[in-house]
Subunit: 460 residues, 2 copies
């Protein structure tokens, strides 16, 4: 067996014990909130049939799907001429029939279709699993990363949208974030605007341009709109929309007059109002939510599949892209032959949230604790003396370790430090004779003489 100097594939990561504790803290916090709102966890396999995934993410997406080579003599049945042509693309389907999942949405749609007879609709599910994309790795972009999604399918009620706002608010607040915006928009409002201008086909161009207002100002946006096929007259009509300001209520009032001629647009406004009404009925602290939710008609996330409300969440405490997003889609499962099943879902950007919490120093120290106490090991006699204490501690459900060798104390202390173990019990000659052991607080440095029972009581 030759010795290989080990390395990791580009864009993948190991997670150390400390990182795992922090990651689990984020996932557990979010999952707890999902469950409180009635969402139940599912998992799907890492690999799907290639056919299940192909064609769902556009041509660019298809290229980024990791394909799994067929096992065995995978070349045996491949046409010789095809191989000779070295056409990589055309050969894929001959040598690969499975692929790694690219997101959680398509596997979820497949799950719903395959299990439709066992599911009690509306089906409220959450899913936290890794996905893989053959993207060029760069800072903050990995080839393996976790997605953290909640979706409900089979319920058109806007109560779901309102609850997602509350889920975002509760989860992020529980994680210690204090200043974040939950932006909301509605695809129907955007359609209405494009309709009023008479350019429904330019809805994407319109939103892409408007979205840049912050960066390039009104003149810049106007210029871009002209380039993208709008006239000066169109831009005049668009101005009140682009410059929409004030509270959510004020914005809705302005939009109502702009969109008075568009049934679709008015429907979008009504949907947003219904969501706001649900939210206000579901919280006692209305002011909190009126400052957190922001109607933002420039929000155009996922415009090619969302059909109703659209969400995006941004923190204002750290410069960072969106830390969450989602929306309503009217035909999730159509691609697998199950029509007319409406769905709405959100996603948390857990990797970004990790970076935000790290930068703001928001990980609680309790989330960093593994072992609570290390018993030092001076010699064989001390080790023997320590064993019953070790057992007593664990019987009291205290995570405890006995250092498994009588090496220099300094080394044992570094071990405790490296593992952030907050207490060390020192057992020497004197301690064994008196029965009073030394308990050292590794944070304060303080030492106390206590009996074994007192130590268990104190650490419990």
């Amino acid at each position: 067996m030759s010795v290989t100097k080990p390395s990791l594939p580009k864009g993948t990561r190991d997670f150390s014990p400390l990182e795992m504790v922090k990651r689990n803290y984020i996932y557990d916090t979010i999952k707890t909130v999902f469950k409180k709102y009635g969402y139940a966890e599912i998992q799907t396999p890492s690999m799907e049939n290639l056919q299940t995934l192909t064609g769902k993410y556009g041509d660019e997406g298809d290229k980024l799907i990791f394909k799994i080579l067929n096992s065995g003599d995978y070349l045996a049945k491949v046409d010789e001429q095809l191989l000779a042509s070295k056409n990589s693309n055309a050969t894929i389907s001959k040598i690969s029939e499975k692929a790694l999942r690219y997101d959680l949405t398509v596997p979820f749609a497949r799950y719903v279709v395959m299990h439709q007879s066992e599911i009690a609709f509306p089906f409220k599910r959450f899913q936290v699993q890794p996905v893989w994309r053959a993207d060029r790795p760069q800072k903050g972009r990995y080839r393996e990363f976790y997605q953290c999604d909640a979706d409900v399918v089979g319920s058109p009620s806007l109560l779901n949208e309102a609850e997602f706002v509350l889920i975002y608010h509760e989860a992020l607040t529980n994680l210690g974030l204090k200043d974040f915006d939950i932006k909301i928009n509605n695809r129907k409002i955007l359609s209405g605007i494009a309709e009023i201008i008479g350019k429904p086909e330019l809805i994407v161009d319109m939103t892409v341009a408007i979205d840049k207002l912050d960066k390039i100002g009104l003149d810049g946006v106007s210029k871009e709109l002209l380039e993208r096929g709008f006239t000066e007259a169109d831009i005049e009509k668009l101005k009140p929309v682009i410059l929409l300001e004030g509270t959510n209520e004020e914005k809705l009032e302005s939009l109502k007059s702009v969109l008075a001629g568009s049934e679709t647009g008015l429907k979008g406004i009504e949907e947003i109002e219904t969501v706001f009404n649900y939210v206000s009925k579901l919280t006692t602290d209305n002011s909190k939510l009126t400052t957190v939710i922001e109607l933002d008609i420039t929000l155009a996330r996922g415009l090619n599949y969302y059909t109703g409300c659209i969400f995006e969440v941004k923190t204002n405490e750290v410069a960072m892209g969106s830390i969450g997003g989602g929306g309503r889609y009217d035909d999730l499962t159509g691609m697998f032959g199950l029509k007319d099943l409406t769905g709405v879902g959100i996603s948390f950007g857990a990797d970004r949230i990790y970076d935000v919490l790290e930068e703001l120093n928001l990980f609680p120290t309790s989330a960093q604790q593994g072992t609570k106490v290390l018993i030092s090991n001076f010699d064989e006699a001390a080790e023997l003396f320590a064993l019953p204490l070790l057992q007593q501690l664990r019987d009291a459900n205290i995570a405890a370790e006995l250092y498994p060798a009588s090496v220099k104390l300094k080394k044992q202390m570094s071990y405790a430090d490296a593992k952030s173990i907050p207490y060390v019990v020192l057992i020497g000659e004197e301690e064994m004779q008196s029965g009073k052991l030394t308990l050292k607080d590794m944070v304060s440095g303080e030492q106390q003489k206590l009996t074994a029972t007192e130590i268990v009581e104190k650490l419990k």
Copy 2:
């Protein structure tokens, strides 16, 4: 986009909400015990460089590794003649440089070597992640399954072995298992026996034959030993070993006389005795452990890599193969150039444990509960009335849902049943007027009239 009838790749599984709750119950129970004994979680990427994995699992293992096709124009640089030869095996390394992990052990070894400068040894880590094998799927054997491992590297102390016995005992007991054996053996005892007979090179043949005693009896074993290169005289010497009976102490005494001439054999006995001593010092209920731990010198699991103690766990309540196993290996990281790092580890067979708990009906009902209460939805007025209660329930950390449509009550009740929701709040005309809502216990069928506050109190 063409409609595809969806299916799953062979040997992979979806996990429904109920299955996930049960699986999480098993993992959480085991993880809690790992942590109590000072083990910390790590995760490694699903994909490793193919080179990292190749050659570590034997030729048969190499074939079962799932290889990932390189992205982009993966055929461009492949030699034309190689393609024309259709040599699947020789082509793999040209079109694939990554693969899915086959177990958690090799990635762990890679992790230790890559992170050796950050790790405080002894390094006690646990890891619960899926692995993938291109095995032929059959009942109980999947192509994607979870492994659940704990290992410590950098500590030769047999305290670790003793603690693994306790970890098995505590985790399986916490899962509700009442009758299981933790079998222990030591590679050095087997080596000693082969040495005494003068056939050290036949150690594997010897153990394979002895292992069949239960099935084929002494005559059968003798016949097999003859076939495998042993003489009648050898078999005479082996008889006391094959027929070893009695308590662990009695077995050790017999072995001591058999192995008196083998230094290695005696070392193995000494190691087992040390483990037993540690275990007895670490438990007050010695009888429990003397009936649970069983010295079994026919245990030959992983003989080609274990160098010291070997473990295997079997339940006696259900006919099932081993539900756990492990052992000490003296050169885990040598394959990646880091020599002389000793390790010992165990694994839980979580899929089998799942089947055992299912068969014995040992999953606690609390592990099956998601949403605690569903508020029914009669009409718009009732929905409006329900919203503040929904909020109160969630503020009290009670997982609650409001059915998001005013459909027939029967449908809402089936929804509660399907999700095993134990309580339903019924809000009708009368309830809204009196303020006394009907709380229905879905298990007993009992109904009570309570105020919103009383309901929150009761369910808290």
